[in-house]
Structures are given as C-alpha cells and as structure tokens.
C-alpha cells in the first residue's frame, strides 16, 4: 500500500482559516480550527507531510516570505511567528515561537515554552523552559523518536480523518 509518504492529497478540515498566499505541500494534515494567516499579505510556504493540530496559529507578521519545511509536528495551541523552520521539528503544546527566530532541522521545543525574539536554534536543538531554568542543548534523541512515529501517524490520520470531517476543497 502507500508505505512511503508523501501522500498525494493534503487534508484540510473545514474549520481551518487559511489566508490567500499560503501554499501547502502534499500530505500535510490540518486539524480543525488551525489557522494560517498573513498580516501584510506576504506568502507562507508550508512543506510536505506536516501535522498541524487544533488552535495552532501560524502568523506571518513580517513582509517577507515565511518558509516551513517538511515532516514537522505542531501540537495543540502553539503560536508560530518565525520566518524559517526546517524539517522534522516538533513544536509541542502551547509553546510560542516569536518573530525573527530561526529553527533548523530536528529541533524540539517543549510544551509551554516561549522562544524569545532573535533566538537561533541550530540542528538537533532541544529547547525547554521550565519553572527553574531554561534548557537549550543538542540531542538527536527526541527528534529520532518523533521521526519513528511520524510516518505512521500521518498514515493513520490520512485514513481516519476523511471519514469524520468535511474537507476543504483544494485551492
């Protein structure tokens, strides 16, 4: 069967808000109530096989192009305003990534943490803000575990979501 993503079609549930100028690659899944908006009409480019969950806000506040790579996972309620995101990143629940942040490949941003402006996360960075301290170190383990699950997760969502949701037509 369809073992290897990318899948042909993108899944976009009906309750998402998507502005003009947003391009979404093949196989990306948008859960309901996700929103991808631009403030000044600058384009947003989203790669293949991403998962964008509920209440995720991807906002382009700058006047330049915003690029998001492939195989990323944006969990519930996260806010993304940064210009450049690489591949295979995990941005966990309720975390906030502000403007002018650059995220490389295979980074993990933990739940509830806030990435301040002008922060640069190189490849394999784990970024976490807790009550006591702010952690920033490099480790490939979290993203490896993410990538071991991600294709199966996508496949599951591609199978089940169309049965329950009305899809937005291709644009």
């Amino acid at each position: 069967m369809s073992q290897s993503p990318p899948f042909k079609n993108t899944i976009i549930c009906q309750d998402c808000t998507i502005n003009n100028g947003v391009t979404i690659g093949h196989g990306t899944v948008l859960h309901p109530k996700a929103s991808i908006t631009t403030e000044h009409g600058a384009p947003i480019e989203i790669g293949e096989s991403n998962i964008i969950e509920e209440f995720v806000q991807i906002i382009n506040r700058s006047k330049e192009k915003m690029i998001i790579g492939s195989n990323n996972l944006f969990e519930v309620g996260s806010l993304i305003e940064c210009k450049l995101i690489g591949n295979e990143n995990v941005i966990e629940t309720k975390s906030k990534v502000y403007r002018d942040v650059v995220i490389g490949n295979s980074c993990v941003i933990s739940a509830g943490s806030i990435v301040p402006e002008n922060e640069i996360l190189d490849d394999n960075t784990v970024y976490s803000v807790t009550d006591r301290n702010r952690l920033k170190f490099t480790s490939p383990i979290p993203s490896e575990s993410h990538m071991s699950i991600h294709p199966g997760h996508l496949e599951h969502l591609h199978k089940t979501l169309p049965n329950f949701h009305n899809m937005k037509k291709n644009f």
Binding site: K33, E54, G112, D131, G152, H156, F164
Partner: protein, 227 residues
Amino acid sequence: MQEKPRYYEKSQYIETLNGNKVSKNSMLCGIMNIRLHGKTIIRPSVIIRGDLANVNIGRLTIISEGTVIRPSYKKFKGAIMYLPLNIGDHVVVGEGSVISAASIGSYVQIGKNCVISKRCILKDCCVIPDDTILAPDTVVPPFTSYGGNPGVYQEDLPDSFEQYQKEYTTLLYENFIPNPTPSIPTTSSTLKLLPTQTSPILTTSRTTTPISPLSPGNTSPPIPSLK
C-alpha cells in the same frame, strides 16, 4: 459552600435527556465515539476529538471554555494507535486546558491553562493547579496535588476531598441554569444595535459621523467619506 448562579442562553445549549448540557458552539468531532454519562456541562469552544478514539466522560463533569480533549497515541506493533480517553465522575476542567491523558479518575480538579500531556494517568481525587504542565506518561497518585512546569508532587489532599468535589460539582451543575428572563428583550436589543452598527459603514446617520474623527484609529472608514 456557595456558588453564584451562572446563567446561560437556552438557545445556545442543547440539553439531553440525561441532563447533559452541551453548548452549540462547542465542537464534538466523531459524535458516535463520544459518550457523556449524564449531567455533564460542555461550555463553548470546547473541542472533543472523538474521531481519533473513544472518549468517555462521566457524570457531573464540567468542561470549561477553550479546552481541547484529544486522545493520545502510542506506537504499537509498528503502527500508530490512538488510545481511548476515559474521564471519571465529578471532574472539573478549567479554561484553556489541553487534555490528552490516557485516563482521568473521578473527583479530579484541573485548573486553567493546564497541559496534561500524552498518556498521563490521573488517579481518583487529585488536583492539578493552574498553568501546570504534566510531562508525558506522568502518573498522578490519589489524594495528591501536582503542579508547576514540569508538574511535580506538591502536597497531599485531605480525605474529605472526595466529598468536597462531589458537592462542588453538583453545586456547579445546579447553579448552571437557563436565563430566567425570556429571550425577547435580548433579541430586541440586538435589533436596536444593528442599525447603529451598520450606520458608520453606510454613513447615512449624521449622529454618528461627528464622533468618528474624535476617536482615531478604530473608526477609519468614515473619515475618508468626510474628506
């Protein structure tokens, strides 16, 4: 224990035979997989993802605004499996929380803006204070309070917590009552509001246009029309 009555518009809620009160503005995906056992209140803009896995919600459970209840997943024999989510009786969930636990027991209080991460297990009688973030696979034992980021043990709860939570949820449910005033005045007020809302756009009524230059920013459309 006293609680102020909380009124709701009857037209905005669906009441089932079991006494469930579900807001029409909430979003229940995959309704056939969601089971409400009665006397449950679901407030507006709640999302319950029944399409991913079964969701069971017990009696006298209150789920506040903006909460997302989504079953968690686990890698199982190479494939992804979403685990069913069970929530017990007498549970209060605060506003803006994200719950993807594997199971939540009875008599549990969860505060505002909490994150209960994947596959957490909350046993009976526990408290999660506001702004807590529980790491994945955390098990919260009975009669304890887990708080902070990441959520750790804070204190023990008294034995009377079960009784307290029972009374608290029944009070909340009983005080969640439909608006006593009939809905006619509210509709008339909206009718009165509508012309004033449309008038700045049309710029027909002269009573509104002199005000708009004084208040900058917000009423930008009328200004060009004046010039």
